[in-house]
């Protein structure tokens, strides 16, 4: 019944994140949009690894007689991607805070001393 609906959700999240990155003017909002794209990427990778009817890839909780597990590699990759996403988010917000200290503004149209 769900069909390829999760893929559609991933695609919509990507496009919304891109629109946020390109058209927002506030540095903090841009960071939020980057977070949305990160969330979309994580959702995408996990979605790729789902096997319908599969069980958790943990033998402790798998229940007896279950041989069909969902793919474990995407989960390991996503775990890495989530922590990397947190690291970049924290750094980007720190930059935004420091830029606010120097420029007194978070607007990208004010933060453009380097140009030409």
């Amino acid at each position: 019944m769900t069909g390829n609906f999760p893929y559609l959700v991933v695609g919509i999240l990507f496009v919304m994140g891109f629109i946020g990155i390109v058209f927002e003017k506030n540095l903090m909002k841009i960071a939020i949009a980057v977070s949305v794209v990160e969330a979309a990427t994580n959702l995408f990778i996990i979605t790729l690894g789902y096997r319908s009817g599969g069980s958790i890839p943990v033998w402790t909780m798998a229940g007896s007689g279950s041989s069909r597990m969902v793919l474990p590699t995407p989960q390991a990759l996503t775990l890495t991607a989530i922590v990397i996403g947190l690291a970049t988010t924290a750094l980007m917000l720190s930059f935004a805070m420091s830029i606010y200290r120097h420029y007194g503004s978070l607007d990208v149209r004010d933060v453009r001393r380097l140009r030409g």
Binding site: L13, A31, I32, N42, L43, I46, Y103, G104
Partner: protein
């Protein structure tokens, strides 16, 4: 039944993602982002990925929201003079 729940979670993800971009107010936007993370972590539970779900709930919904709110506090008021710039 479980399919309906799954679909409604996916719809909530889209709606909260849209609201995250849509809100002008930064604090509302951050809260929407936390909701987005929370529902994505629920979606991970549905896709049998509890490892990632715990990570997403702890990091995405908990910590990064805290970091965002700290950053918003630093930028909310005009408290630094502009003359100090080089």
């Amino acid at each position: 039944m479980i399919e309906v729940l799954h679909l409604s979670i996916l719809v909530t993800i889209v709606v909260s993602g849209f609201l995250t971009i849509w809100f002008r107010n930064l604090l509302s936007s951050v809260i929407s982002l936390a909701v987005l993370s929370l529902f994505i972590s629920l979606e991970f539970f549905f896709m049998q990925a509890p490892d990632v779900a715990i990570a997403e709930a702890g990091i995405g919904a908990g910590l990064s929201t805290a970091i965002y709110i700290i950053a918003l506090r630093a930028c909310g008021r005009k408290q630094f003079r502009k003359e100090g710039e080089r």
